[in-house]
Symmetry: C2
Subunit: 111 residues, 2 copies
């Protein structure tokens, strides 16, 4: 699995990107989806994800909607207008970060 330290600071970017593609998702679904598409490499733990979702909602990036499914209540998240703008910023920041790191770690990552 991926080095924990490196993943720090990436969760928000991941959540924003997934929501920009899926309209709405719930927490557990996000965990599973990340696991699947990253080929089991990125494991978003619930202890990290839920507090982050709550923070992003408090920051006005996400909107929520509770939906009853049988006897359970699912909490769906979707991007707010601010959140939608934030996606672009975060993706851009990630790109810049990788480029800067490659300048430092040089040989084009292909060594």
């Amino acid at each position: 699995m991926i080095d924990k330290g490196l993943l720090k600071g990436s969760i928000k970017t991941i959540v924003l990107k997934l929501l920009s593609e899926h309209q709405r998702m719930y927490g557990y679904e996000i965990c599973q989806h990340v696991k699947t598409i990253s080929q089991e490499q990125v494991i978003l733990t619930e202890g990290a994800l839920y507090p982050m979702l709550h923070k992003m909602e408090a920051d006005g990036l996400l909107l929520t909607e509770k939906v009853r499914v049988g006897n359970r209540v699912r909490k769906y998240y979707q991007l707010s207008t601010t959140g939608t703008q934030e996606v672009t910023k975060k993706l851009e920041q990630f790109r810049t970060y990788v480029e800067a790191m490659q300048l430092i770690l040089q040989p084009k990552m292909t060594n």
Copy 2:
């Protein structure tokens, strides 16, 4: 400047890589060098760097050597055997991390 959050967990990798190319460097030099080669994008603050260097030395990754320069004492760091092995691991982990992130963030980072 680079998003702070993303840089978390990268300092160790950066230090190891620089030392693998330079035989020996001192703290202040590392800060300046990173700033220069990253084109002012990555700013390693001393408050983050020095404690990390001390930790890496304590963990046996680095060896130190104090050198008088005029009336000042410079503290040079170089890789230990363990440190040298660690470079490869860390670079590999970084590559894996970027690849995994690209699976999630998809459009090959070129969008």
